[in-house]
């Protein structure tokens, strides 16, 4: 094997190893673990809206009402209520408005599809853009072609990343 082929193999190996390492690291950090009660309270309060604030969650807000709501959630979690029951208790008093996500079993759940739909539509448009062949650049006169060849050879020798000379 020539030195060049060795180098190429090395590069490919490093890319593969690198990608695998990233995937493993991400999977490792995504491993499920048992949720502590404190984490459960944090999760529930992140989804509840502080009633006296401008859209902050109960978890984020330092307001007195938010702290009292948090205490209530802590108590209910300790009592063993389910997430649904705890949230419903607040919804009974304040309506759907107090939940920071749109209710799942309704038309509103469609908002979750918006980004997906946008990406699909955009992707389709982009795909069409790519299917059309690119416009053909005009033929260069012979003298220019020779000069261009020489320049390309020089740049390749210098290992420049693109066709632009800095």
């Amino acid at each position: 094997m020539t030195a060049r082929e060795n180098a190429v193999l090395r590069a490919r190996a490093m890319i593969v190893i690198g990608l695998v390492a990233i995937v493993v690291a991400v999977a490792w950090s995504a491993r499920p673990h048992a949720e502590t009660p404190a984490e459960r309270v944090d999760r529930i309060t992140s989804g509840l809206r502080c009633v006296v604030c401008q859209g902050l969650s109960v978890k984020d807000s330092p307001a007195e009402s938010a702290r009292q709501m948090r205490d209530l959630v802590v108590q209910r979690v300790a009592e063993g209520r389910s997430d649904r029951e705890i949230v419903d208790e607040f919804r009974a008093s304040y309506g759907d408005w107090v939940v920071l996500e749109p209710p799942l079993l309704s038309w509103s759940a469609l908002v979750w599809l918006v980004p997906v739909a946008a990406l699909l539509v955009g992707g389709a448009v982009a795909w069409r853009g790519m299917r059309t062949p690119p416009p053909q650049p005009p033929e260069a006169p012979p003298a220019d072609v020779a000069a261009l060849r020489e320049r390309v050879a020089r740049e390749e020798a210098l290992d420049l990343p693109s066709t632009e000379t800095p």
Partner: protein, 665 residues
């Protein structure tokens, strides 16, 4: 004659001047008439002088505490410090619109005097568009809905600025930056409309407005970061972004403007994506108006809902007119724009730019719909519901990560397509760096898959940028014999657009890492303390020393003195509750100890209002959050480098250097 009389008269005089100028410019563009152009030019200049006089009149009224002017009575008081008096020009609606008008007039005058010398006919038509917009804003500012010089029976003392607005000197920075960003985008929009109307101009308008678009984008971006800083330092909840409707209103045009800045490169280089670029310009401008509308009309409840006013319907009408006219023009001219071919290879720089267009638009659409959905739901079915952080975070984070990825591979791919060898050569080091980033995140214990992925992508992008700089410096060394420092300086000067862009990418990477780390690793602790008690938060120990009253000239404070120790720290922080005389609610003022590794953020959440025997203190340890502001600064610096005019020189190199024919890598 009082200052207010001066200002009011100036504004009313400016309106007919703008209308005349618009007509003159339109005539000049249609008939290629030189005198019409001269007339339009002088109208623009006169309008600038008049609107400047109006601003002087408002500042004069503010500084002399002229409470017969309603705006001054509502936003100023005798004890207000001079600094805050001056910046109350933009404290509320009417003054903000006046500031907007001033910036718009400035941009119009610039186009009138500089722009028309470069691209006479196109710029003249653009000038007509700008003057039409200026006429609208002057009309707005002279109607009772938004007239800053409305007179009332003067009270003895004014209300003073809203408490939230005089807590921090950042109020000086955030609105002007945002307005400059918003308004300067009118110029590329005006050129785009002119190009559509005249059916000509091809791609030249992009080049003519490139700097305006870049500067506007940079100011908007830095303005948003300044707003985040204000939210963090002033609003006192420990966070910097809450997906508040007004925050969303600012970021939407920034997202499409970013897409536009990149996408124009494809048009310049390969004359493709014309429809995309025109659509992006129109969308960005429409979003700036929508943003103003959402902030000022009172239809959404938000942090900025200081005033509700009758300006809402007027702004909505303006928005509708803009959208209908520009979309109509675009659809009319679309056959003429038809491009001669497609993008071609998926692994090419232009394809990446096309992908980033799609992702940015998807991100913007999501924010738009998320912000407006509660309005829609209530209009349709009367149901009141909320869409907040959980939705936006969950949807926007993956899109942001996709953009980070595209940011890394885009600059590395050549135009027209890449071969496999190119890919391997370009991406070996960045992928390895990405792996190191991922491993670093795991080792540091930064939790969550998204955080690890962010670290990996951030390292990937950073490595590509470093690689580009290294290659550029190396190439200059070989071609021109320059040393590294000189080569670097020349890279920034001669290829400022490219390398300035890389610096911006680095800034974004810093912001991404700061956001991911602060979101994943914040420690929040709350405890009720009596003086002498301590609470532990992360590695720090916080002791309540005392709870005391303090009085300043225009406000009273209740201060909690805290002593911080642990982890090598030894400081005092004083979070407080601030009481303004004319406001019933207290405003929280956090005590923040900022540092390169983390910020210690303290909030006085509650206190014993009878005997000051206890206080509830909330302490947050937020890692790396200060790097957010540093990242914003880097983005700004990169934009400056990219916007600087390049020195003109010949293409041929000055010094001939012997170059070996083949070099082993």
């Amino acid at each position: 004659m009082s200052w207010a009389d001066l200002g009011s008269a100036a504004l009313r005089a400016a309106l007919p001047v703008a209308i005349w100028g618009c007509g003159a410019a339109a005539y000049a563009a249609a008939k290629r008439d030189g005198r019409g152009l001269a007339s339009a030019r002088w109208s623009s200049l006169l309008a600038l002088v008049l609107v400047s006089l109006a601003v002087v009149g408002m500042e004069g009224s503010l500084l002399t505490h002229d409470f017969s002017v309603q705006y001054v009575a509502q936003n100023n008081a005798r004890e207000t410090p001079t600094f805050f008096t001056v910046i109350s020009l933009w404290a509320a609606l009417e003054g903000s619109i006046l500031l907007w008008t001033l910036v718009l007039t400035g941009a119009t005058a610039y186009v009138a005097w500089r722009g028309t010398r470069e691209l006479p006919r196109l710029a003249t038509a653009a000038l007509a568009v700008l003057l039409a917009m200026l006429a609208f804003f002057l009309l707005l500012v002279t109607t009772p809905a938004a007239d800053p010089f409305v007179r009332i029976d003067p009270p003895f003392d004014g209300n003073g600025p809203n408490p939230l607005l005089q807590n921090h000197p950042l109020m000086a920075l955030h609105p002007p930056l945002l307005y400059l960003g918003y308004v300067l985008f009118s110029v590329p929009f005006a050129y785009a409309i002119a190009s559509l109307v005249l059916g000509e101009g091809g791609d030249r308008w992009l080049v003519a407005t490139r700097r305006f678009a870049l500067v506007s984008w940079a100011l908007l971006g830095v303005g948003i970061v300044a707003g985040s800083w204000w939210s963090y330092a002033v609003l006192g909840w420990g966070g910097y972004w809450a997906w508040d409707p007004v925050e969303n209103a600012a970021i939407m045009p920034w997202l499409t403007a970013t897409a536009y800045l990149h996408s124009v490169m494809v048009e310049e280089k390969r004359r493709l994506l014309r429809t995309w670029n025109l659509s992006l310009v129109i969308t960005t401008f429409a979003l700036t108006i929508l943003g103003t509308f959402l902030t000022r009309s009172g239809v959404v409840n938000s942090v900025h809902a200081f005033t509700q006013s009758a300006i809402g319907p007027l702004l909505l009408g303006y928005l509708v007119a803009i959208v209908v006219l520009s979309v109509g023009l675009l659809l009319w001219r679309m056959p003429r724009l038809a491009e001669s071919g497609g993008v071609g290879a998926p692994l090419s720089r232009e394809a990446i730019f096309l992908f980033q267009n799609v992702v940015f638009v998807a991100a913007t659409l999501t924010v738009l719909l998320g912000t407006l959905y509660p309005l829609i739901a209530e209009a349709v079915s009367g149901a009141q519901l909320s869409i907040g952080r959980p939705y936006f975070d969950r949807v926007e984070v993956p899109l942001a990560l996709a953009l980070l990825f595209l940011m890394g591979i885009g600059p590395q791919l050549p135009w027209h397509g890449a071969s496999r060898a190119t890919l391997e050569r370009q991406f070996t080091a960045p992928v390895v760096a990405g792996a190191c980033g991922a491993v670093l995140a795991v080792v540091l214990g930064i939790g969550g898959a998204f955080a690890v992925l962010t670290y990996a992508l951030a390292a990937f992008v950073a490595a590509t940028v470093v690689q580009e700089f290294a290659r550029g410096v190396h190439a200059r060394g070989v071609l021109h014999g320059e040393g590294p420092a000189e080569a670097l300086a020349n890279l920034l000067r001669r290829s400022g657009r490219r390398y300035g862009g890389y610096i911006v990418h680095l800034g974004i990477v810093v912001i991404a890492v700061a956001v991911a780390t602060s979101q994943a690793g914040t420690v929040q602790v709350e405890k009720t303390l009596a003086p002498g008690d301590t609470v532990a938060a992360g590695p720090y120990l916080v002791r309540l020393v005392a709870l005391r009253d303090a009085a300043e000239p225009q406000r009273d404070l209740l201060v909690a003195d805290l002593a911080i120790s642990g982890n090598g720290a030894d400081t005092r922080l004083s979070p407080a509750l601030v009481f303004y005389p004319n406001s019933t609610q207290a405003v929280g003022s956090p005590g923040i100890a900022a540092g390169p590794r983390d910020d210690l953020y303290t909030i006085l959440a509650a206190y014993d209002n009878r005997a000051k025997a206890w206080a509830t203190i909330r302490v947050l340890v937020i890692p790396l959050v200060s790097w957010l502001w540093v990242g914003g600064l880097i983005v700004g610096l990169g934009a400056v480098v990219a916007a600087l005019p390049q020195p003109r020189r010949g293409i041929a190199t000055r010094r001939a250097v012997e170059v070996p024919v083949a070099v082993e890598t």
